[in-house]
Structure formats: structure tokens, C-alpha cells
């Protein structure tokens, strides 16, 4: 019968070798979480925060921030439009040049504000083609009329005259922001005689 004894011994050796290898590599930790995991929640919790809070931008961008904080766009974080700002902040704080170009700015507005079926009716949205018609086909980008940091409805914006030669497109009698009553019947050409001094109203 000794062949069975030898075989049995071989089996015992193999099994014990396995348990030994197992004990070398397994660390029992918190029961609830399971074996080998005591440190893993800590590792996940220790990961670096990448997205920055909009409040951090206040450090430098103060006047801008004040208008934004009172505007309809306050639920939109700075990073929603400007993308990751982490590198920009680090460099700027160190005094280095830190440009943060805004890519695809005109598409950004439409990402939220284009008229897409499914958006709640109460949410401000435009059909881009119709919106252009409304303005006489003139504006080329949203920011020409809408201040992204304080969009307003209707937008309060400073007029840069460049690209806005068609005054009556917006201010005509049946248009979106008509002329005040005492300005009735004035034509395009007379506008600029008064309204031209500097960038302003």
C-alpha cells in the first residue's frame, strides 16, 4: 500500500505549497470590503482633483466674475466652456504666460441653446437659421450680441460698430428691440451721426 501513502504525501505537499503561496500574497483587511482592499478606497480617494471650481477663477478674473455671478449663466461653470483650467491656473499663479484659448466658441453656445427636440420648452433655445433671419442675417457669432458671462434676455451688450452696420436690423419698427418713440421714422444713415463716438451706446 505504500504507493498510496506516497501519492497521498505528494498531494499534501502540493496543497500545502499552494496555501503557503497564498498566504504570502494575500493580506486580510477590512472584512466588509473584502480581502486585500483596505487601502484601495484610500487610493481612489487620494486621486488628484482635475476639474476646478469656478470660485477659483475669482482670484484673478474679478470684474468678469462679478457680472457672471449675477447672471443667468451662474449655473454654468467656467470649465463648461473653457475646458480644463488646471494647467492654466498653475502657470498663472506662478506668473507664467498661460493662454487659455476657447476652441469652437460659436459651437459652444449652440451645444446648449440650439433648438433640439427633447429640450424642455422653458429652456431658452433658438433655431439658428431663424435667429439669423431675426437679426437681418448680420451677426456671425453669438457673442457679437450676447455677452457669454452675462447673456441676459434680451442681451445687454456694448455695441462695437464693426459688423453692425445694419442698425435697423435690430432696431427697426417691427424688430426685436425697436427705436424709442421719439426716434420714429429716422433712417439708417442718421443713426451714426449721433451714435458713433466711442465703443458704447
Amino acid at each position: 500500500m505504500s504507493h498510496l501513502v506516497r501519492a497521498g504525501l505528494l498531494l499534501v505537499v502540493v496543497v500545502m505549497g499552494f496555501w503557503y503561496a497564498k498566504s504570502l500574497t494575500s493580506v486580510v483587511s477590512v472584512e466588509f470590503i473584502g480581502i486585500t482592499h483596505a487601502d484601495n478606497p484610500r487610493e481612489w480617494a487620494g486621486r488628484a482633483v482635475n476639474n476646478q471650481d469656478s470660485a477659483i477663477c475669482t482670484e484673478c478674473h474679478n470684474p468678469l466674475n462679478t457680472s457672471w455671478q449675477g447672471s443667468a449663466h451662474v449655473p454654468v461653470t467656467c470649465e463648461d466652456c473653457h475646458g480644463t483650467t488646471k494647467n492654466h491656473i498653475v502657470k498663472a499663479r506662478a506668473g507664467q504666460s498661460a493662454p487659455l484659448p476657447l476652441v469652437d466658441a460659436h459651437d459652444l453656445c449652440l451645444t446648449c441653446h440650439a433648438k433640439v427636440p427633447g429640450r424642455p420648452a422653458s429652456f431658452p433655445q433658438v433655431e439658428p437659421a431663424q435667429h439669423i433671419e431675426l437679426l437681418g442675417g448680420a451677426p456671425a457669432s453669438c457673442t457679437l450680441c450676447h455677452n457669454p458671462h452675462n447673456p441676459g434676455l434680451p442681451p445687454e451688450f456694448t455695441h462695437s460698430l464693426e459688423g453692425r452696420s445694419a442698425c435697423l436690423a435690430c432696431h427697426g419698427p417691427d424688430q426685436w428691440k425697436p427705436l424709442p418713440p421719439d426716434h420714429a421714422k429716422r433712417t439708417q444713415e442718421t443713426c451714426l451721426t449721433c451714435h458713433r463716438s466711442k465703443e458704447g451706446r
Binding site: R42, D80, L110, P128
Partner: protein, 292 residues
């Protein structure tokens, strides 16, 4: 005593004492992998007591505008690969026609928003811009194909109370923390993808060969962590922070003043696939019967 019996007893004694000897050698071996974060002195997590918090996540589908800022912020925050098949969170659009046909789509997970001309927008739905050619007027649709109802549904890992993914992981790499968040130990994950099969919500994916990965590990399972590194520091998850219309809300139910407490007390709540018994902890307002 019989010679063979003597031999047998000797053999047995050798086995027992040999085994004990081998067993004590264990004690000479240092314990497993050292903690890296505690070596760094992560004081924020040291002060965090998981059992003090009962996190809740509420999605208000009636507010969602499908802009995809949440998906984008998540990928930026968590170093998720930009591949369209890697989504920790995504937005779905449901369009229901007059004949009750339900059309669902989620171009690239909604990360670029949804197209404005109402088309299905497969493979990246970039919105038309004012400077580009104005979109053609939508083709006249037959009356019965006309979409009569549509809405957006943001989705993410539901951090189930009874997670099937934790149940099936063969090596225990995915687990539930003491504060109820389901995490993946990516150093242990063997990439068998059983958890991906088991998740009823499609919330998990396998990290591909990409330059940027959440923890530097490839070919392991990954999923939404409710931005565990943010919530343990008192911040909001990236998607909640990024949502411009407040469709996502996150908070601590133990805090009687929290928004989530108020919402759960005042609204009727739904969850996804309640019949499966996973008890999701992401609660929905405004789900439709068409949403699966």
C-alpha cells in the same frame, strides 16, 4: 509493532511537524503591498469617516437638455479615455413617434451634445453653427413618423445596494466601500469582464489601450466612482458640478438640510430596472415607461 505501521506513523509525524514548520515560515514574510496614499500622508481621507455619510444621487430627467457637459467633465476629471466605447456617464435621447415607436440614441455618449436638426446623429452629433451653412429644413415627415415626445436621460453607475457586479467578480477586485460606493481595485482586476456582463445598466467598460487611463492600468474594468476623490473632500462629483441646468444633484442624506433630502421627501422617485432587485442608489425624477 509492525514495521509498516511504524513507518506509517513516522511518515505522519514528519508530515505534521514539517507542515507546522512551513507554516511558521509565513511569519517571516512581510505583509502585502504597502499603502501608497498613507505614505503620502493623505490627510483629507484620514479625516473622512465613511460610515458618517449616506450619499444620494438624483437625476432630474425633466431638466436635462442633452448638452453633454457632464460626460465631458467626467472624462476630463477622471482621465477616462476619449474613445466612444468608454463611458462612465452618458446621456440618452428618447424620441417617441405618433405610432409609439421609441427611438433611442446616444451619439458618442452625448459628449458633443445632440444634433439640432432632429436627425439621429450617429457617430458624433456636432451641432451646426451660425457661421456654417444653416441646416436644411427638416424633411417633411409622414404624420405617423412625427416625433411627439422626446426627452433626455442621463445615466451613470447606479452604485446599487445589491450590486451584481460585486457578486460575480471572481477575484473580489470590485467591492463596495463602507459608504456604499462600488469601486474597482484596478491593481487586482484580471480583466475577465464578468462584471461587465453582469451589470444590467451597461455602466462598466474595459479600459482599452489608451494614452490616458484612470489609474494607469489597462485592460481592467472601470466605471463611475461618484468621483470618490471629490466627495471625500467635500466636493461634488464632476458631472454634478458641470451640469448647467441642475439635472444632477448629489448630497448626503444624513444632512437634514441637503437638497437631496428635500427632493426625496417631496418628489415621486423612480429607479432603472427595479424588477431586477439591484436596488440602485441613483434616483430618477421624470422617467418614462419607455426608459430602460
Amino acid at each position: 509493532m509492525d514495521a509498516s505501521r511504524r513507518r506509517f506513523i513516522k511518515l505522519g509525524a514528519h508530515a505534521v511537524f514539517g507542515g507546522l514548520f512551513v507554516y511558521t515560515l509565513r511569519g517571516l514574510v512581510p505583509p502585502g503591498s504597502p499603502s501608497t496614499a498613507s505614505a503620502r500622508g493623505d490627510t483629507a481621507y484620514d479625516q473622512y469617516r465613511p460610515t458618517d455619510h449616506e450619499w444620494a444621487f438624483i437625476v432630474d430627467s425633466t431638466k436635462c437638455i442633452g448638452c453633454g457637459r457632464c460626460a465631458r467633465a467626467c472624462k476630463q476629471e477622471n482621465n477616462v479615455p476619449m474613445e466612444p466605447s468608454c463611458n462612465r456617464t452618458w446621456v440618452e435621447r428618447y424620441r417617441i413617434t405618433r405610432e409609439d415607436v421609441v427611438l433611442v440614441d446616444s451619439p458618442d455618449g452625448g459628449i458633443n451634445g445632440f444634433p439640432s436638426d432632429g436627425s439621429s446623429g450617429e457617430g458624433g452629433g456636432s451641432n451646426s453653427s451660425l457661421t456654417r451653412n444653416a441646416p436644411a429644413k427638416p424633411q417633411a415627415r409622414k404624420r405617423e413618423e412625427e416625433v411627439v415626445k422626446s426627452f433626455f436621460v442621463p445615466k451613470l453607475c447606479n452604485q446599487c445596494e445589491r450590486p451584481p457586479c460585486v457578486q460575480v467578480c471572481p477575484v473580489g477586485a470590485t467591492y463596495k466601500t463602507l459608504d456604499g460606493v462600488v469601486l474597482v481595485n484596478q491593481k487586482r482586476c484580471i480583466g475577465c469582464r464578468y462584471c461587465i456582463q453582469a451589470c444590467p445598466y451597461g455602466a462598466r467598460y474595459l479600459v482599452p489601450d489608451a494614452e490616458v487611463t484612470p489609474t494607469g492600468q489597462k485592460h481592467v474594468a472601470d466605471k463611475c466612482t461618484w468621483c470618490y476623490h471629490r466627495i471625500t473632500r467635500g466636493l461634488l462629483p464632476a458631472c454634478v458640478e458641470a451640469c448647467p441646468v441642475g439635472a444632477r444633484t448629489f448630497g448626503d442624506l444624513r444632512d437634514p438640510d441637503s437638497a437631496v433630502r428635500r427632493i426625496l421627501d417631496e418628489h415621486r422617485i423612480d429607479v432603472l430596472k427595479p424588477d431586477l432587485g439591484t436596488r440602485p442608489r441613483v434616483k430618477y425624477i421624470g422617467l418614462d415607461e419607455a426608459v430602460v
